[in-house]
Each structure stands twice: as C-alpha cells, then as structure tokens.
Assembly symmetry: C2
Amino acid sequence: MGKCEQCIIKQFNAMKSLTKDELIRISGCKTSRIIKKGEVIFEEGENINGVYCIKDGICKLSKLSENGKDQIVKMVVKGQLLGQRSLITEEVSNLQAVALNDMEVCFIPRVEIMADLQNNLKFSFDVLKVMARDLRESDDIIVNMAQKTVRKRLADVLIYLHSNFGENTDGTLSILLSREDYANIVGTATESAIRIISQLKKENLISTKGKYIKIEDLAGLKRVE
Amino acid sequence: MGKCEQCIIKQFNAMKSLTKDELIRISGCKTSRIIKKGEVIFEEGENINGVYCIKDGICKLSKLSENGKDQIVKMVVKGQLLGQRSLITEEVSNLQAVALNDMEVCFIPRVEIMADLQNNLKFSFDVLKVMARDLRESDDIIVNMAQKTVRKRLADVLIYLHSNFGENTDGTLSILLSREDYANIVGTATESAIRIISQLKKENLISTKGKYIKIEDLAGLKRVE
DNA sequence: AAGGAAATATGACCAATATCATGAACACGC
DNA sequence: GCGTGTTCATGATATTGGTCATATTTCCTT
C-alpha cells in the first residue's frame, strides 16, 4: 500500500497542508480500495465515518428527489476529497456517491481527519477554501437551473465535461455518461436529454459513436441559447 | 458604538469562538452602519474587503443571470455573517446583496477577520461548519429547482419563510417580499409567480392583504404537488 | 387630493418540456 | 449465435410555464 507522505495526489487537495508526521500517521490508518464502475461508494443517509481521497477515477454525487428522479449535483474526480462536508457537519450523508468509472481511493477514518482539522490551521483553512469555492459553484448551478433552458444547460454540460475531463484519442469525451446521467445532471426527463442530443447532432455541433459523444463545433455549442 | 465583546448577536455565528482579546481588537476597528430597505450592500463583482455581522434585519443575495433576471440564491438574516465566502476565496463577490428591510450591521475589515481565521482554530472550524451546512442547503435547492414545479417551489418558499421568519400579529408573514422577489427566488417569471399566488388564494391555502401574505392552511400548502 | 409611476392581476397565445407509447439498437449471459 | 433485458431513439399528445398585452390597484410625490 502506498504511503501518503510520498503520494503525489495530495498536491491536488488540502492534504498537501498536512505535516510529514501527520501524513505518516494517516498513512498508518488509511485503507486503499478499488471501486468498480457503477458501484455505490456511499448511500444517501449513510454514516460515512471518514473521507475518501480519490487517487484515480470519477464519481457522481446525487440526491434522490421526491418525484423519484436522481439529481446529480456534483462530480468528484481524481485528486479531490470526498465526504468532507458530512464529516464536518457530523451528519449522515445527504448525497449518494456512485463511481462513473473504475476508481482507486484511500479511505481515512473520521477521527484521524478530524484530529488534523482541529489541530492544523493551514489544513482546515485549505478545506475552508475548497468549500467556499464549491459554494460559489453551487450558486452558479442554481442560477443556471432556474434561468436557462434544458437545451442550453445540456450544451453547457458538454462543454464542461470537455474542458474538465478532456477527450479520448478519437476526440470523443473521455468521460462516458449514459443519457440518463445527462438528464440527471441537467434535471430533465431522459427522453428530453436524448432528444436534445439528437438535435445537437443534426445541427453538426456534436457527433456520437455509440454512447460516446464528440464535440464537433465547440464555438457553435457555446453559442447555443 | 457597541462593543463586540458584549454583543449578544455573536452567539448566533462563528464569532462566539473568538477570544475576549480578539473581540476587543475587532471592536476597535469595526464600523457600525444602518442600511435602509432596498439599499444595495454590495454589488456583484465588487471587492467586499471585509465581513458584515448582521445585528438586525434581513437581506437577499442574488446573481444576475444572462437572460437579465436576478436569481435570489440565499437570504441572510440577523445573527449571520455576510461576505465570508469572498473573503476566503479572495475574489470579488459573485453575488449582490440588497436589504429587504432596514438593517443594522457591523463591518469588520478583511485583515482583521483574516488574522483570526488564520490564528484561531475554533473560529475557522466554526466558519467551516457554517459553510458545510450551506453547501448541504445548496444541494437541496439545486434538486428542487431541477425537479419540482414552480407551484411546488413557491409553496415551499412560503412555508420556509413562515417557519424561518415567523408571522406578524395578524398572522401575515413577517417578511415582506414583492411578487418579483418571489419570482426571483423560485426562478420563474413575475407573472407566473403572481398567477400561482392568486391560485393558492382561490384554493384558500393563503390569503393576501395588499402585499402581505398570510398562510391560511399550512398543512394544505405542504400537500401542494 | 390629484396625477403618475410602479406593482399587482389576468387573459391569450405560444414555446418548451414532460409523459406515454412504441420500436430499434446494443449488451450480455448462456 | 440466440434470446432477453437495457439503453437509445422518436412520434404523438398533454402540461407547464413564458411572453406580450392590458387592466386594475397601490403607493408615492407634489
């Protein structure tokens, strides 16, 4: 099992602010785990009891709505921490986490992370920064949900996925989502998402290869209203 | 001007975790201010340069959408701090703040609050807790925006205002919002908000006295789908 | 108290999106 | 390779909500 103090992944999250001693301590109590695509990492209402540091892969965080639909509220990727909020509010998770591809994660038990949060000011301030940025992002999502059409939101998601997760060698988006996932991100019916994807295809803004989507005209996609 | 170390408002926010010395220092550099109803506290894109501690009153935080509509993302009330996020991300504000009634606030300059955030662990952890809870709330708002009808969202807002801000002696909601504000909270056209309010009135779930709204049948309002 | 501006209210119509139905393509176990 | 379930696709139709037009009421100014 890798050692935290030598792990390069921590560069991308607040754990870079931990001291060498703290990292060695964490290293001794963490557990590594492989999570397969589609596997549930934790459920809504579950006591997470710690934090996941994502060494590789991507997962979706979603919340079940009263109408039975899952709303995806965030994607958490390689380099980020998963589960901080519930840790800090000391409540069960309000979200479900599901792996979107095969993942490699380290799990750090609650008590260990809490000890550092309450002793290492630089660390807790770093987490604070991440949260403040998340809140800003949430504001934007709320505004988009409230004010933009489904078509515009879907175009935005494609652009977002492209700029954040990049493309495969054939130019398709490297992150593979089902049409239902797309619907659950923009908050619409699966049929509507499919319909709009077909439409964007007809307008030559994107193309599809099976489930894979390729952006053909990024500038055009940005112009979608 | 009041002294922070004796101010009871701090009980309701993270400032309760500051030491007496820190409070005395803050007290010496803070400025008190009365803000009239409708007045802008800060604009989107403005450098806030500090934090407001709300001694009395309520304000709305909104963001201008590309379609020209203002989306209200949060209400901040007596006892809470305003402007923490921008302070922490060290960016200009992403939101506009406008007073919904006459307010009394204390403004604490950035450097002073930052000093405490970076020296007092209990204080920064308390702010962290508030933010984690805000994030949780944001998740709920995103899900509601994405999955619920305007009618349901508006009913929810009325219930929220009732349970959070209470009622006047005549039973009307103590917080007075324009129909446009209601529209900007639920993310709809003003006409739609007006229409739905009229409809709820016809169904005897609420009644109105001028701009004031009174909840007549809370249980019924909760049943709205 | 009068006049005018702003907020509230309502109707008519249209566009966006949901829902239901059905079929085609694909994926997987045997 | 063959069913069989799942995902993708598309049509028909219903519903929701947005936009524009126009009253009506409220509120503010003078």
